[in-house]
C-alpha cells in the first residue's frame, strides 16, 4: 500500500487515465459509422455496471449474483415515471438511484448474516423475483416488450446543455447532423461524463481507508471484527453504494436504448457483469471497467462484423464458454495482471494489498 502512494506511481496512473479519457472524448470525431457511437455509449454504461459491482463484490469478496436487480430497478423506475408522470430525465434518474439504493438496503441487511454461497444464492433469487414481478405487473411494465419511447439524455434540461457543450468542444459542430445522430452524440458525452466520474469516485473510495477496511472483510472477516472493524455496517454501506450507482447506470442505459424491458433484469446480465469484472480483475474498479469496455467492443464490433447474427445463440454460448475457461485458467483475471506487467506494477499497484497475492 505504501508503495502505491509514492508520487511517481500516482503520476503514471493519472497520466494513463488522462490519456484514456482524452481518447474517449476525441474518439467520436474519427468514427465513420454513426451506429458505432451507440456501441461506445453501451461500453461506458457497462463500465459503470462492472465498477459498481466491484465496490461490493470485488472488494469484500461477497459476490453479488443479482446485480441486474438493481440495474433493472433503476431502469423500470425511469420507464414507469416516464410512462405515468412524464417527469424530466434528471428527476427520473434521481428516483432510479433512490429506488435501487433502497432495494440494496433491503437486500443488504439480511445479507449481513450471510457468507459464502448464501449471499450469492440470495442475490440471484432476488433478481429472479424482480424479473417475476415485472411479468406479474405486465400491464404496467409491458412484460417482454417493456416500455418504449424514453428520451435520449440530451433532452434533459440540465444534462442536455452539458452534453451538447461537450459535443461542441470535442466532436465539433453537431448542428449539421440529423436529429437522431445528434441525440446519439450528445447522449454519448453525458454517459462518458457519468462513467468517468463514477469510476473515479469508486476508485478513490476503493483506495481510501474504507476501501482497505472492505478488503479486510475479504482477507479475514473474523480478524477484522476482532480488530474492531464494524464489518456489518461496512458491508451494508458497500451494498447501498453499489446498488445506488447500478440504479443510476441502469437509468442511463435505458435512456440510451430509449426503452426498458425485462432483459435489464435477466440472470444473463448479472453473469455478464461478473464475467467483465473477473476478466478485468475484480477488486480494482479500473480493471472491471476496462474488462467491460473490452467485452462490449469485442461483441459488438468484432462479432457483429464477422456477420454473426446478434439474435443468434452463438454469442451467449461463446461468452459463457469463454467465462468458464477464463475462470479455470486464470482466476485472477486477465487485464489487471497484463497491465501490471506492462507498467511494472505501477498502474494497478493499489488493486490488491501488497503480498496479498502471488
Amino acid at each position: 500500500m505504501i508503495a502505491a502512494l509514492r508520487p511517481g506511481r500516482l503520476t503514471v496512473n493519472g497520466l494513463l487515465a488522462a490519456l484514456v479519457v482524452l481518447a474517449a472524448l476525441l474518439g467520436p470525431r474519427f468514427l465513420t459509422r454513426f451506429s458505432t457511437i451507440d456501441v461506445l455509449t453501451t461500453a461506458g454504461v457497462f463500465a459503470m455496471f462492472a465498477a459498481s459491482w466491484d465496490i461490493l463484490s470485488g472488494y469484500t469478496g461477497q459476490e453479488n449474483f443479482g446485480h441486474a436487480a438493481f440495474i433493472g430497478a433503476g431502469g423500470f423506475t425511469v420507464g414507469l415515471l416516464t410512462k405515468y408522470a412524464d417527469v424530466p430525465v434528471e428527476v427520473s434518474m434521481l428516483a432510479a438511484a433512490a429506488i435501487a439504493g433502497l432495494l440494496g438496503l433491503v437486500i443488504g441487511i439480511p445479507a449481513l448474516r450471510l457468507r459464502g454461497p448464501y449471499l450469492a444464492l440470495a442475490t440471484l433469487a432476488a433478481a429472479a423475483a424482480l424479473l417475476r414481478l415485472a411479468f406479474i405487473f405486465k400491464p404496467q411494465t409491458g412484460g417482454e416488450e417493456g416500455i418504449s419511447g424514453l428520451a435520449k439524455l440530451g433532452d434533459g434540461a440540465l444534462l442536455g446543455p452539458i452534453g451538447r457543450g461537450a459535443a461542441r468542444i470535442f466532436y465539433g459542430d453537431v448542428g449539421g447532423l440529423n436529429r437522431l445522430n445528434e441525440a446519439s452524440i450528445v447522449n454519448y458525452y453525458v454517459v462518458l461524463l457519468a462513467a468517468t466520474s463514477m469510476v473515479a469516485v469508486l476508485a478513490a473510495y476503493g483506495a481510501s481507508k474504507r476501501g482497505l477496511l472492505l478488503r479486510s472483510i475479504q482477507q479475514d472477516e473474523t480478524a477484522a471484527l476482532a480488530s474492531g472493524v464494524s464489518t456489518a455496517s461496512l458491508k451494508v454501506a458497500a451494498f447501498v453504494v453499489s446498488s445506488t450507482l447500478a440504479g443510476i447506470a441502469g437509468s442511463l442505459w435505458v435512456h440510451t436504448l430509449t426503452q426498458v424491458n425485462i432483459d435489464t433484469l435477466r440472470v444473463d446480465l448479472s453473469l455478464l457483469i461478473i464475467v467483465m469484472a473477473v476478466i478485468g480483475g475484480a477488486g480494482s474498479i479500473v480493471g472491471p471497467a476496462i474488462g467491460a469496455v473490452i467485452i462490449v467492443l469485442l461483441q459488438d464490433l468484432v462479432l457483429d462484423r464477422l456477420g454473426i447474427d446478434p439474435g443468434s445463440q452463438v454469442k451467449p454460448m461463446l461468452f459463457s464458454a469463454l467465462l468458464i475457461v477464463v475462470m479455470i485458467v486464470r482466476p485472477k483475471g486477465l487485464v489487471v495482471p497484463l497491465l501490471r506487467r506492462l507498467s511494472g506494477r505501477a498502474v494497478i499497484a493499489r488493486a490488491r494489498p501488497e503480498g496479498a497475492d502471488g
Binding site: I107, R113, A129, S320, P331
Partner: protein, 290 residues
C-alpha cells in the same frame, strides 16, 4: 373444501417432484461443498433430451424417458469433470462457472430446439378423480415415481456400503480420505446421480408442464429455497422442506386469486425469510461441512 382437497392432492405431487429435484442439489453440496447453479439446467436437459429422443431419434416413449434421465445423469458427470473439478477448492468460482454452464446450456437449447414451447407425450393418459378433484394420470405417475425414487435414495444412503461412504465424506472429508475413500470419485458419483434425479423430475413433469429454454431457473431457485430451509446438505431437512414448499406452492396457486402468477415469489421469500430468521435451516445439521 374443493380448494383444500385440490391443494392437498396437487401439493403432494409437487412435493414429490421437488424432493427429487432438491435431493441431488443438497447431496452435491453436502459431499463436496459444491453449490451447482446448473442443477436446474439438468432438469431441463432431461426434458429436452426426452423430447429429442421422441422427435429426432424416433425412440419409443418409455425409452425416450430413460434416454432423458441418462443424458441428464451424464451431463452431471461431464459438468463435474470439465468444469467443477478444476475449481473445486474455491466455492465462489464454482458458483460462477456453474452459472456460466447454466447460461451455456440455455443458449445451446435455444440453438438446437428454438425458443417455442415443446411438448412431451405422457406414458399414461387420461385422468381420474380423488374426492371430487380431477387428477391427470401423468401427474399421478410423477408423484409415484418421485416417492419411489426418493425412498430408494434414502434407503441406499442409510443401509448400503455405498451410502455409508457418501455420508462419511459429507461428515468429515479428511477422515474419509484417511479411510482410503477418494472424495473426488464420490462427488463424481453424487453429481451423476443428482443429475439423473433432476432429469427424472424433468421427464416426469414435462407432459403437464411447458418445455422451454428458460425452464431451468424456477427449479433452481426452488431447489435453493428447499435446501436453505432444510439446512444445506441435510438429507432429512431437504425432504421435509420439499414437502413444506410443495404444499405452500400449491396453496398459493389455488388459494389466492390468480395465485399461479405469484408462485415464483415463494422461493425468494422463503430464502430471504429463512436467512434472516434461522440461517441454519429448520433441521440443524450434524457434522457441518463448512
Amino acid at each position: 373444501m374443493d380448494v383444500l382437497v385440490e391443494i392437498l392432492v396437487r401439493g403432494a405431487q409437487t412435493s414429490a417432484v421437488l424432493a427429487l429435484l432438491a435431493l441431488g442439489f443438497s447431496l452435491v453440496y453436502g459431499v463436496g461443498g459444491v453449490v451447482n447453479l446448473a442443477h436446474g439446467s439438468l432438469f431441463m436437459v432431461g426434458a429436452y433430451a426426452a423430447v429429442a429422443g421422441v422427435t429426432t431419434l424416433g425412440l419409443p416413449l418409455w425409452l425416450a424417458y430413460a434416454f432423458g434421465v441418462a443424458v441428464a445423469g451424464a451431463s452431471g458427470a461431464v459438468l463435474y469433470l470439465l468444469i467443477v473439478r478444476p475449481v473445486r477448492r474455491d466455492p465462489l468460482t464454482v458458483l460462477i462457472v456453474t452459472l456460466g454452464a447454466a447460461i451455456f446450456i440455455a443458449a445451446l437449447v435455444r440453438f438446437l430446439f428454438g425458443t417455442a414451447n415443446r411438448g412431451l407425450g405422457g406414458l399414461v393418459g387420461g385422468s381420474f378423480s380423488i374426492f371430487g378433484v380431477r387428477v391427470q394420470q401423468t401427474r399421478m405417475l410423477a408423484f409415484v415415481v418421485g416417492v419411489l425414487a426418493v425412498g430408494l435414495l434414502l434407503a441406499v444412503l442409510r443401509k448400503t456400503a455405498a451410502g455409508r461412504i457418501v455420508r462419511a465424506v459429507a461428515q468429515d472429508p479428511e477422515a474419509a480420505i484417511l479411510m482410503g475413500i477418494d472424495p473426488g470419485r464420490v462427488l463424481l458419483a453424487v453429481m451423476t446421480i443428482g443429475g439423473a434425479l433432476a432429469g427424472l423430475a424433468g421427464v416426469t413433469t414435462a407432459p403437464f408442464e411447458a418445455v422451454f429454454p428458460d425452464m431451468w431457473l424456477r427449479p433452481l431457485t426452488m431447489a435453493f429455497a428447499i435446501v436453505i430451509l432444510g439446512g444445506l446438505g441435510s438429507v432429512e431437512g431437504t425432504v421435509l422442506a420439499a414437502v413444506l414448499l410443495g404444499f405452500l406452492d400449491r396453496a398459493v396457486a389455488f388459494g389466492l386469486p390468480s395465485g399461479e402468477r405469484y408462485v415464483d415469489l415463494i422461493a425468494v421469500l422463503v430464502i430471504l425469510g429463512t436467512l434472516v430468521v434461522r440461517p441454519q435451516g429448520i433441521v440443524a445439521r450434524a457434522g457441518a461441512h463448512h
